[in-house]
Subunit: 229 residues, 2 copies
DNA sequence: CCATTTTAAATAGGAGTCCTATTAATATCC
DNA sequence: GGATATTAATAGGACTCCTATTTAAAATGG
């Protein structure tokens, strides 16, 4: 039924590749944090909060980071001690608190985000067509993860109210962003846009269909057969 | 000089995508470890050691995991307590120890590797051509990381003594593995083959050229221009 | 061939991640 | 209005991960 068990299936090997790259990503982050006085997890929370003007609840942070809520509490306590986040009561719910990044926290988040990265260098070395295809693959993967409930809806163009997939068929930038009032090509798509507003599920689903059919199916590289051995 | 600073460049967004997927990967691993009695880091070390019959030195494990040696010492101590690894003196160097996985450790590594994974499911949902292109992209990224010294040489086909890229030009499986004596297609490529033997650098480099030129450059999806805004 | 430098690993010490389980204070819903 | 659910904080424990230091064994070099 499920090919998850096949020891050497393509998805299994792809996952293995992601695991390897993830290790380097983490090492990059440690190097970037270096003398800054935060660690990778703290930097990631700072980056997450920097994009959210109205702050985020602890629970939402946990969902975004895919960890348990008490873990977030630990990290927020560390960031709080360092003066990088503040907590203010949520007017809508007396149990909840909205967490916001401070100016200093934002500055540190920026520093880390702009630091060098071996992975980014490696990605920059891919040719533009490969980059675009990789971005498309990521969008599909992230969307599937969303549909499966593994992560909350991300602020991607394809799930945004402002997005009009394939509004300009055949043009080099076939999509359109109503918010920016600008044509958008596949390479311009965002995985986390600050202006994102979730479209409702029916629209999302229709948009996805239009988006997917916007381009001809990729031509397969060599072989689609089971493989040797 | 370096586009690493561009806040919204394609490589930057791609890295962001990898970060997101990495979070889910970690969560998958926690779920897989569940009642098994190990944690993701331990499972990864077990998986790494399972593929290495002659064991690995602590230092090599650290390099593969992209962490500092004392971190590996911690993890090995935990695995040792649980009886999942053994350390034996290295005959070639009295300072060093070779770490090997025990039968039980191998069993646990297998259990975790075969557990379900949201990321693997999402990868399985991609169509075959996309999977193949993604695998190719990963190979290029990992190779660049190797060239940059960010990670040790991985046991990929493309760096193996047994690999003959494009030995059968135009065939659906254009490459050849001398060890298996079998034709190999792009989808069959391994990122970590137990039979890997490193080719020497000159051969590796020549093989890479042959491998790269084996397929026509990917046709770009829409747009290669800077983008809106 | 012995002194120096380098290297492998273990140790010390400390901050912080991450989990499960529990508790306390709302909120929500019949 | 009281049972149930939800948000977050707390407790407790195992472990990750770092830098710096120590120990011991190799490699180097005069």
């Amino acid at each position: 039924m499920d090919q998850a068990e096949a020891p050497d299936s393509v998805p299994t090997r792809l996952r293995e590749g992601f695991e390897r790259i993830a290790l380097v990503l983490r090492a990059d982050l440690w190097a970037a944090c270096g003398a800054i006085g935060v660690n990778p997890t703290q930097a990631q929370v700072l980056a997450l909060l920097s994009g959210q003007k109205q702050g985020l609840r602890a629970k939402e942070i946990a969902a975004q980071m895919a960890v348990a809520p008490p873990t977030v509490a630990d990290t927020l306590a560390a960031l709080d001690r360092k003066g990088l986040v503040t907590r203010s009561p949520d007017p809508a719910d007396a149990r909840a608190a909205r967490v916001r990044v401070t100016e200093e926290g934002r500055r540190i988040g920026r520093l880390v985000a702009q630091a060098g990265s071996q992975v980014r260098n490696a990605l920059a070395a891919l040719d533009p067509a490969e980059q675009a295809n990789l971005l498309l693959a990521q969008i599909k993967i992230i969307r599937t993860l969303q549909e499966a409930g593994a992560i909350p809806v991300q602020r991607m163009c394809v799930s945004c109210r402002h997005f009009r997939p394939n509004a300009h068929p055949g043009a080099p930038r076939p999509h359109h962003c109503v918010f920016l009032n600008a044509a958008v090509g596949d390479r311009d798509l965002r995985l986390d846009c600050g202006e994102h507003e979730a479209a409702d599920p029916a629209v999302r689903s229709a948009n996805w269909t239009a988006f997917e059919t916007a381009r001809p199916p990729l031509q397969a590289p060599t072989t689609a057969e089971p493989g040797p051995t």
